[in-house]
Symmetry: D2
Amino acid sequence: MQPAAPTTAQATTRETACATAKPKVGIVGASGYTGEELVRLLARHPFVTLSHAASRSLAGTSLRKAFPQCRETLPPELAFVGADPESLAREDVAFWFLALPHGVAATYARAFVSAGRRVLDLSADFRLGSPALYKEYYEAEHPAPDLLAAAPYVLPELATDDAWKSAPLIACPGCYPTSIQIALTPLLRAGLLKPAPGATVINSYSGVSGAGKKADILYLYCERDESVKAYGIPRHRHLSEIEEQLSAAAGAPVVVQFNPHLAPMKRGISTTITVPARGVSVEQVYRVWEAAYAGKPFVGILPSGTYPETGYVSGTNRADISAVSDPRTGNLVLTSAIDNLMKGAGGQAVQIMNLLADFPETAGLV
Amino acid sequence: MQPAAPTTAQATTRETACATAKPKVGIVGASGYTGEELVRLLARHPFVTLSHAASRSLAGTSLRKAFPQCRETLPPELAFVGADPESLAREDVAFWFLALPHGVAATYARAFVSAGRRVLDLSADFRLGSPALYKEYYEAEHPAPDLLAAAPYVLPELATDDAWKSAPLIACPGCYPTSIQIALTPLLRAGLLKPAPGATVINSYSGVSGAGKKADILYLYCERDESVKAYGIPRHRHLSEIEEQLSAAAGAPVVVQFNPHLAPMKRGISTTITVPARGVSVEQVYRVWEAAYAGKPFVGILPSGTYPETGYVSGTNRADISAVSDPRTGNLVLTSAIDNLMKGAGGQAVQIMNLLADFPETAGLV
Amino acid sequence: MQPAAPTTAQATTRETACATAKPKVGIVGASGYTGEELVRLLARHPFVTLSHAASRSLAGTSLRKAFPQCRETLPPELAFVGADPESLAREDVAFWFLALPHGVAATYARAFVSAGRRVLDLSADFRLGSPALYKEYYEAEHPAPDLLAAAPYVLPELATDDAWKSAPLIACPGCYPTSIQIALTPLLRAGLLKPAPGATVINSYSGVSGAGKKADILYLYCERDESVKAYGIPRHRHLSEIEEQLSAAAGAPVVVQFNPHLAPMKRGISTTITVPARGVSVEQVYRVWEAAYAGKPFVGILPSGTYPETGYVSGTNRADISAVSDPRTGNLVLTSAIDNLMKGAGGQAVQIMNLLADFPETAGLV
Amino acid sequence: MQPAAPTTAQATTRETACATAKPKVGIVGASGYTGEELVRLLARHPFVTLSHAASRSLAGTSLRKAFPQCRETLPPELAFVGADPESLAREDVAFWFLALPHGVAATYARAFVSAGRRVLDLSADFRLGSPALYKEYYEAEHPAPDLLAAAPYVLPELATDDAWKSAPLIACPGCYPTSIQIALTPLLRAGLLKPAPGATVINSYSGVSGAGKKADILYLYCERDESVKAYGIPRHRHLSEIEEQLSAAAGAPVVVQFNPHLAPMKRGISTTITVPARGVSVEQVYRVWEAAYAGKPFVGILPSGTYPETGYVSGTNRADISAVSDPRTGNLVLTSAIDNLMKGAGGQAVQIMNLLADFPETAGLV
């Protein structure tokens, strides 16, 4: 009656084997929602050990206390350490995740890279190739222009080669840009779409966690519950990243209308892209997508006429996409859904670490 | 210490005066969310008496039992009556509200109009001027083409004269179309916008009540909570009404991309319209809006750079609108918010009745 | 075809009649959720004019801007005034509503009462008859013990005579206590229940607006969405009010277990009371309730075996109650539902003003 | 710069090792929320292969299509099979999970046990030791009284020995009973509590998924959103299981008041238990709990004065508990939180399988 299962001895051996091989990872800036998600993911990751969480304000506090949702995966003795970049750089940590505001992240990135650590930066500091564009959108001088060359922007499914895997510092994409590029980039690269400036219209609806964990009346439960609103039109900061990446994919400047909104849910981004595409069939779109995403575990291509739902990607690292064409208007309408804290932030950063470290791509993410 | 307040005698006199003057109103089809909203509004309306609610399935049931949210405003003895059109037409009811599926509404409309009653139809049966368009979008012959001429489409703030006030039958606008026309129609009429076919992109996010009160797995709490999804792209039925009305406003065919979505909230529609408008300033937009809506109690024009929130119009009959222009793209982005059950359905129907009956426009709606 | 409706002339006369008779009302402390609800209710009240809203931080700000949900009912010129008690006391305001923290409210109450104004205090300052109990639960000396005698505690449906109508200052009940007393008080007064100390167990679940409009991480959307939690057990401040009132009703000390919780919704309190009642039938309970609440528009008595839902009282001033008895345990289980901002705060205060001013009890509340 | 990580070869070896050892598991009845949760958990479980999902209505349908939230973990070729018990019993499946209505589950249990398979039954069919009690609460003869002796009721943290590990059929506990027993059972076993009949009052608030995935108006988004309600008082079916188990723990009959409620959230149960305990200190409670749950990964004991939140256990297999004592009333108030679909259903069933199969207890559950 006993099934063919590993014996306790086998299980123990396997556990031990993993334990001896596990590199250490650390997080700086774990008090926001992205940091929380990274703690959750790294605490349960089968091939790494979360050894450091650094925070100026929480130094000394137990992680179990700060992250009650992770009580069963966090070791009871693990506590926040202080956030001095130089001290942290001396710790035996293989991968540092930076969940910090832009401007602040660069300081840590520099210290860790100098010390030979590898860094996954989830801020905007290294997402833009152009320091001038950074200044225009973030209203400050770029904090580390000399590091930009060593900091590739990596959306793993869209990387064209493996050169980025040897980079010391990775710029992890933003949440809205991820939801947009997964749908559009392969089509632009294939030359299927050549939209006129301003003719591509992107509406995105984000869960409230996208606004961060700030004690602000605007994000109180009673303010956001049962309410949808637009904001940040027409120049949300993510627009700079979106257009820089789409332009690179198209090989020509791409100018879009980006309309972000807040929706009454914790997590998720639903993006709907309308783009002129007279003469392009929906079959062509699917052929390009299927070629681009063959064997990619974290992209779900849905049949035309069905639509991604944020509820179905919530808690996953997956992006779902689908497309319809409209013969009346000559437009394609592309829809996508991601979890903004997973594929849009912490999950994608862990996916990148998995690829860097030659772990299975889905390790700790399913 | 006693304030200057009406004495009981005065109050009683006033109450009595109202009571003697109150015309009777009735609802057919009160089992859906629009019907519920009409019951709520008419039961508390100061100048009419809700005397009839007709339903095949609920005949004999107490309204208090069927609408527990209205216990204090519904008279205990009021019960559903049967739904035979001819019998109902003989009742002494001044205004009938039809909250019925398309196709069914026309039968009641015909009976009531023949009997000299006035009818506010909230179905799609009389919204389209063209029976051919009706057939194309509703996949059935129009049920009463001979009545179309007597059935004006009335969005009160956009009516150009008072001729509709003598019509026996009013086609009340759909929810999405209302949220769109309030923003676009004045601009099209003023000739400010002349968008190329397909270049106007309209994204709308609706609360779940827009899907009706149907025992369908798709609309269960656990399916819709924490989830946003697109649906019905590219040919939602409301598209026919939207384009017919916008074309009339523009004096030329208008072809738009309409992308409806479901958002995790009970009520509300948030609409965001992107339209090419090179050379049109946001000040011109506001001047046209202010002229169109001067003295209109149910339109809120918000400053450019602020955005309507569905939470702020929930439970009200108001449409809030605002606009920004984007010099990079040459587009205008217009945003609006309404409560789909109020300004998008029952509230607007009561507003129309108020105007028909020479009640104050806001009676029972604030 | 024209229905029997009031002519414009009649309507105008009636409107004018009301306008000439309308006393002015004011609010101090309109930046929280209770204040917002009072603004909403008083701006649409048919028999009073909201003439003053006082706030230290918002002086000069337009009310329309501060309360976008009330755009169509607030006059465009109405702006917040400063909050100096003495200056406010000189204004021609018949009723002042205090939506202020405890301790602060008493200062305004004193100034207004001295100036011969009438005051409805929604804070805890005058809810307790005993200054010692106040000190025990609020950890401060009572701010105005000399005013207590002139400040009756008024839950209108439970007032035993009309003496309170001549009081200059009314203590409006708390939200949890209202949801509890409506169910329990008539049964205690009737001598039906004589629970042993600690044997009455009261669990209440409140919407998040009950926690106030504070920029606190704890009440962010992402913290409260999809989560229920207990808090404040075993000595929530409202316990003092609950026990003082229930003891008065019973004519003997009543000691209860009060377990408050937060539920993921904006509004509403669901209360479930378990009380030993061997030998008391559910019919006896209903007989007492029906006698107590005959002709009371704001109490809904539901059949045994059905249960109040907060969704059905949301936005209303009604309390719904029902009861079952359990022969196995000898207990009665009473359930109630109110909207914490309406019957639990602003709505009940307006109801009290209606009664004081001899307006219809439901004026502005349906 | 490369961290000390397993090489691809190592990872592959480990993956392969696991793959060869993986027993097959199957689910009958995967169309409800418990079935969905089991699919999600078993598809990502590191030590088993989900090989069979049986459903009468869905036979032939792809699991990826039926469970879009699991697209990246479900093999594309896996489809539902028919639900004939005898045919399924012949399949090479080590563990069958039954997510079926009571009455139906017993038929499958019999077939699978006869064929030597092991069965985890999540229905109520084998939860009660007494067929008479089953008949009283489920209003039908027990469908398989002869199997009861071979079907231990297993709440793993409360099992007193390992005898159950050799049973062919396991009765997995209900959701409410789990949330209650984790808090109460150790205290009853220790003799700390000896409550009089009816004096223990248990209020539970469940997420809507607890009501199942039924096309019923009652569970539509618009009916349950923003609303809390009691239901099923005083004799919810789970009461039979609760009292049978608590009585066994106490060694004497325990009679409780059980008040279940629905809360507006997808998942989670928040339980608050008030129990007379004059003379029992909160320290004694914690000592008993700490002894009972030492080394148990899925129980979180929170400090007195803090309270479990369902949001913190959502998506986890953990039960959080805490306690306060009230010297005024002589009562203890115990609070607990679980995810009803995890520790209250699918997660606990997988935990039981892990223990049966000698997998690590947390495998696939963190």
